[in-house]
């Protein structure tokens, strides 16, 4: 249907409300107005999205690159000098930057892989006839509706050195109190626990939705062939879920590049943004926050942001190539 034709044909239709149509001249004028709004209205309807996206999304992102070429900072915003690529060359020699890159990627692997694998298993178990189905689904989604701030505060308390529940449990099996925040790996393990706890159920529901779209004949055929439930997961579900898995992996990886709240609030020294005393869990997003908003190096911080953007693009391209390449190999082997 078009927006203009019905409006015009409405003139020929019997008048729904006779009082509205005292003279044809006025009706024609009204239809002309209607035709104009009919043509422009769709643009008006979609305009808010584009306006807001441009002003608060696209423009700031593009402008980030411009700012990253200056030595702009918050205290003297008006006499910023162009410094070319100096921020970038400085960054590449900044050990704190590389430390943040290393931490970000280590955390990315520690968080994403267990989370998606667990979600897949959980979805497989949820994808069956269950009593209290809604209750179980609500149960696994519960972590995701709590805020990351709340999650970090609670886990920070559970992981605390002296009064934490985890150390008490470890004490029961004879392990001494672990100072979770201090260690290079213990701190990352704790942060990964928070991310995994919050996101596994959410991803499980996404996998569950995709699993329910698989034609049940495929499972029947597999069952006739003698495949048990785990074999069905491996041979039927996984191949069918490939695009969904690629999608969730990509979303999870991109989310991990921006990991911010957990490392900020897991640090127990008040006001610290360094991600632990030895920067053992400072991520790129936290480094960006430290440079941009604590030290107020807008130019330098923008360079960090732009490099994070490049990493995101590379990661997305990499994920795309892997899933496509995998699909081709599979297709070829058939």
């Amino acid at each position: 249907m078009t927006t203009t034709a019905p409006a015009a044909s409405g003139l020929d239709a019997p008048p729904p409300r006779p009082a509205r149509r005292p003279s044809t001249a006025r009706a024609r004028a009204r239809s002309a107005i209607r035709r104009v709004t009919g043509v422009t209205a769709p643009y008006g309807f979609v305009a808010p999205f584009f306006l807001i996206f441009f002003v608060f999304g696209l423009f700031p992102m593009a402008y980030t690159f411009w700012v990253s070429l200056t030595d702009r900072d918050l205290l003297r915003p008006h006499d910023a000098k162009m410094v070319g690529l100096r921020n970038y060359t400085d960054l590449l020699h900044d050990e704190f930057f590389w430390n943040a890159v290393k931490n970000t990627f280590e955390l990315m692997l520690l968080c994403s892989i267990p989370q998606l694998a667990l979600a897949l298993i959980l979805a497989h178990i949820l994808n069956a006839r269950l009593r209290g189905r809604t209750l179980f689904r609500m149960g696994v989604l519960l972590p995701n509706i709590t805020s990351i701030v709340a999650v970090t505060i609670v886990f920070g308390q559970l992981f605390s050195r002296d009064f934490g529940l985890f150390n008490w449990l470890l004490g029961l099996v004879g392990v001494d109190n672990v100072n979770w925040q201090a260690g290079e790996w213990s701190s990352k393990f704790a942060i990964a626990m928070m991310v995994i706890w919050r996101w596994t159920g959410y991803n499980a529901l996404i996998y569950l939705a995709a699993m329910q779209a698989i034609p049940r004949e495929q499972f029947e055929a597999a069952a006739i062939d003698g495949a048990g439930t785990w074999r069905q997961l491996w041979h039927v579900t996984l191949p069918a879920l490939r695009p969904t898995i690629a999608f969730t992996a990509l979303v999870s990886l991109i989310g991990q590049i921006q990991l911010f709240t957990e490392p900020l609030l897991f640090d127990i020294s008040p006001g610290s943004v360094s991600g632990g005393t030895d920067r053992q869990f400072q991520t790129l997003a936290l480094f960006l926050y430290e440079e941009g908003f604590r030290l107020r190096h807008f130019g330098y911080g923008s360079a960090v942001a732009w490099l994070m953007f490049l990493m995101t693009v590379l990661l997305a391209a990499f994920a795309y190539l892997i899933t496509r390449g995998g699909a081709r190999i599979r297709g070829g082997s058939r």
Partner: protein, 315 residues
């Protein structure tokens, strides 16, 4: 396809039932057609039943435990919380600790601010996304396909990385430290537009729109009188997801608002940074800040779950 997922689940249930029955045939000696899978232990399909419930119950308990902890700890006193073993059952001090939260940080203001922010973002998102969704689903206009492709493409752009210029922009607008700076950037989302387009396409019949045209509705009138009433279920789902996301948002409010004019999440971060040894106080604040979304989840859990699963199928 509407927001119910029950049909799909019933199909899965039926599939599950059939699978186990077929498993029974297999044991009767049906020859295996697949040479790749002869070694499956007999009765595996049946064994799935017994341990499934214990497994899921453990998962749900693990999911719920930190939330329980958030509400249990503030109901005790700090000297009990500091003992080993830590307490596992609630006590009677919750309101006392909750009162201390309001005395320590500007929690009243934070709650009101969060309510304003999340409420406005939700209303704007519902209005703008349903308008755009209607236009993309039912109106024909030049460039529609290209514009829709742009909307979908923007979902993959990590705009959060433009945070420094966004802050500069807010200062230029004079919006820094005002709630509008938190509301405006997320007042409409690409996800919402795509979600609403999908729903409008399926839930609003063209005949209804044409009838509305005959009655002399303008395009906006069509939206208001015909489309909007039909979108109510989708609005509920999108509204819930948006509200919870806005309520939980942290990084941008932390940057653009001051501790004197915080949202709940910003106030919680102040609380946890300054008083981290005072566990009953910090967790009382956390519990209070989590309570609104928990209540929403308890009442509308089914809709929220269906929204996430629907969004997944479309994404």
């Amino acid at each position: 396809m509407t927001v119910t997922t029950d049909k799909g689940v019933d199909a899965a249930d039926a599939a599950g039932a059939r699978t186990s029955r077929v498993g029974g045939w297999r044991r009767l000696g049906r020859p295996s057609a697949a040479p790749a899978a002869p070694a499956a232990p007999a009765g595996e399909g049946e064994r799935r039943g017994p341990w499934r419930y214990p497994f899921l119950i453990v998962v749900v308990l693990l999911s719920a435990f930190p939330v329980y902890w958030t509400f249990m700890i503030p109901s005790r006193t700090n000297d009990v919380v500091g003992q080993t073993p830590p307490p596992l059952l609630p006590g009677g001090h919750f309101f006392e600790n909750a009162r201390r939260v309001f005395d320590t940080v500007q929690f009243e203001k934070a709650l009101v601010n969060s309510l304003i922010v999340a409420g406005s973002i939700t209303l704007c998102t519902l209005l703008f996304c349903s308008l755009a969704g209607f236009a993309f689903a039912k109106l024909r206009f030049r460039g529609r396909g290209a514009l829709l492709a742009i909307v979908i493409a923007t979902m993959m752009v990590p705009v959060q990385l433009g945070i420094i210029p966004l802050y500069i922009e807010m200062q230029k607008f004079g919006w820094a430290n005002h709630l509008i700076a938190v509301i405006a950037p997320t007042a409409v989302t690409a996800f919402g537009v795509v979600f609403m387009r999908q729903y409008t396409e399926q839930a609003i019949p063209d005949e209804l729109l044409e009838a509305g045209r005959m009655d002399g509705c303008s395009t906006f009138g069509l939206y208001w009188h015909v489309v909007l009433p039909g979108l109510r279920p989708a609005m509920a789902v999108l509204g819930l997801l948006t509200f919870m996301q806005a309520w939980n948002d942290f990084m941008w409010p932390l940057i653009v608002l001051s501790p004197q004019n915080p949202t709940v999440q910003v106030a919680l971060s102040t609380l946890s940074a300054g008083y981290y040894r005072d566990n009953t106080l910090v967790l009382a604040g956390t519990a209070l800040g989590t309570l609104p979304v928990l209540l929403l989840f308890a009442v509308f859990g089914r809709q929220i779950i269906s929204g996430i699963m629907e969004g997944a199928v479309k994404g």
